[in-house]
Amino acid sequence: MTNTFITLLESKDALLADGATGTNLFNMGLQSGDAPELWNVDEPKKIEALYQGSVDAGSDLFLTNTFGGTAARLKLHDAQRRVRELNMAGAELGRNVADRAERKIAVAGSVGPTGEIMEPVGELSHALAVEMFHEQAEALKEGGVDVLWLETISAPEEFRAAAEAFKLADMPWCGTMSFDTAGRTMMGVTSADMAKLVEDFDPAPLAYGANCGTGASDILRTVLGFAAQGTTRPIISKGNAGIPKYVDGHIHYDGTPELMGEYAAMARDCGAKIIGGCCGTMPEHLRAMREALDTRSRGDAPTLDQIVSVLGPFSSDSDGTGDDASAGGERRRGRGRRRA
């Protein structure tokens, strides 16, 4: 069986992924607080236009509008019983757009976090998380995606649950985490931790990496962190187009297309194979990224200083790995006392 995503991954030097979903849909009139996934059924033309925007800007693959498509997220909109319908619709629209294109385009079925904290610190059980991810995965598969795409995860437990669900659905997958807290994920996972984590799975993800987070510089430091682990697995970098600013009632990301072009070329030099944007990344950013990847030659991995001089400062001094494993210093308390 030939799979468009795998073919692209094997035949191309670097793949351009897509940009933002939410930011683009807001520009099409989505209201704050509404579920983007409902538009797969209610506003299919707009969702096609979203996908088409990535294709026309030069993306090799795009993610479906199904980020909040688990029952856990849809229940907020009282749509928890529409998981199959909404995910299938989002996938089918994507399949149509990709199949109409003149070049090979892969459709990646987006799967975002449940929004709940998993056991033992939280309430969500592993079994229930697997069940919810599995339900979504089957619907995306049925809708015709080439690959499942887990994104914006912060807890290793949730990553594991999704991986198990994808195996149940018998689908190839990719997975990214969001490193937004002093170089780590909110739950404390470092880039080195994640590089090890992904090797635990059978099947392992076809590619793994980082998305969202806090700006272009931070995500490149994370990519360098993956590469430093000697990973041979393709690395994904989908960073935000700068930092969110509030302008006239809307969120505007301050990263220019030029900056995102620089980011794309540097991401490849850092070792990323699949490069895209996240929040704030519009088609004009993607065009600049496409051009940078096509016209610039590959260079050596940049130093941290070079990243800062081109893309701006990091949000924290350390990325939480290595000798200074605690970004801010020593733990002030605690003796690791065990229960008697």
């Binding site: 704050s32 607080g33 780590r184 404390g188 600013k245 801010g328 002030r332 006392r337």
Partner: protein
């Protein structure tokens, strides 16, 4: 019962050592040990308010500082807060009986369209850890919910949380409505959530943007003490 070198008999420690040990146990998220420590201090005649402020709040302040500095992460803080809660459950009825002073109160909730409650829960727990009374109105709150809760509980502070770029603009809807109804100045409005920043907080008319739960507590203390000073001036 004996568990090598880690075995510490809390009842054999003097007050000072016990409080230090409770700081460690809070940091390590050991709920049963915290409950035991609280009960020992009560037996020794400590006032509930003194236990709250010196042992529990003191310990959580350290947890908060290490969370702020990127040394502890969400899972450890949740465990610490859970241990704190165990101690608070013992103290709460006693505090009410003894008429202990109040730090202040807060209504908190995640805005409409947003079901994320991790950040909000952390802030709730850290605020309770600092001795505040917290009314948590949950996730996905339209402006009406906030206004009703403010009316009912008359808190010092309104806290709003959002994790998504798609939902953070709704905070302005809430604040604008408060302004329209002439209620904005009755409350301290604090906002927080991953995609926000200080500039955003200012732009929508909040009193403060809280980068994390530890900052939220510091800011809440600061604003509440200023408010009380104003009232007594």
């Amino acid at each position: 019962m004996s568990d090598d070198a880690d075995d510490i008999i809390l009842a054999e420690l003097n007050d000072e050592e016990l409080v230090q040990q409770m700081f460690d146990d809070l940091y390590d998220g050991l709920k049963e040990e915290i409950e035991e420590g609280v009960n020992i201090l009560l037996e020794r005649g400590w006032a509930p308010y003194k236990i709250l402020t010196e042992a529990l709040v003191g310990g959580m302040t350290i947890v908060g500082a290490d969370f702020r500095d990127g040394i502890l992460f969400v899972p450890e803080v949740l465990l610490a807060a859970n241990a704190m809660k165990g101690g608070m459950a013992i103290l709460k009825p006693l505090l009410a009986e003894t008429g202990a002073p109040r730090m202040g109160s807060m209504v908190i909730g995640t805005v409409k369209g947003d079901i994320h409650d991790i950040g909000k829960n952390l802030v709730s727990m850290m605020m309770e850890g600092a001795g505040f009374e917290v009314v948590d109105i949950g996730i996905n709150n339209p402006v009406e919910n906030y206004l009703e809760a403010l009316e009912e509980h008359k808190p010092d502070i309104l806290g709003m949380s959002a994790l998504l770029t798609t939902t953070m603009p709704y905070m302005k809807v809430v604040i604008d409505t408060m302004v329209e109804q002439g209620k904005r100045d009755d409350y301290i409005v604090l906002v927080g959530g991953a995609p926000l920043n200080e500039e955003f907080g200012k732009a929508i008319g909040a009193d403060g943007y809280c980068r994390d739960a530890a900052v939220a507590v510091e800011m809440a203390k600061d604003f509440v003490s200023r408010k009380h000073n104003q009232m007594s001036a």
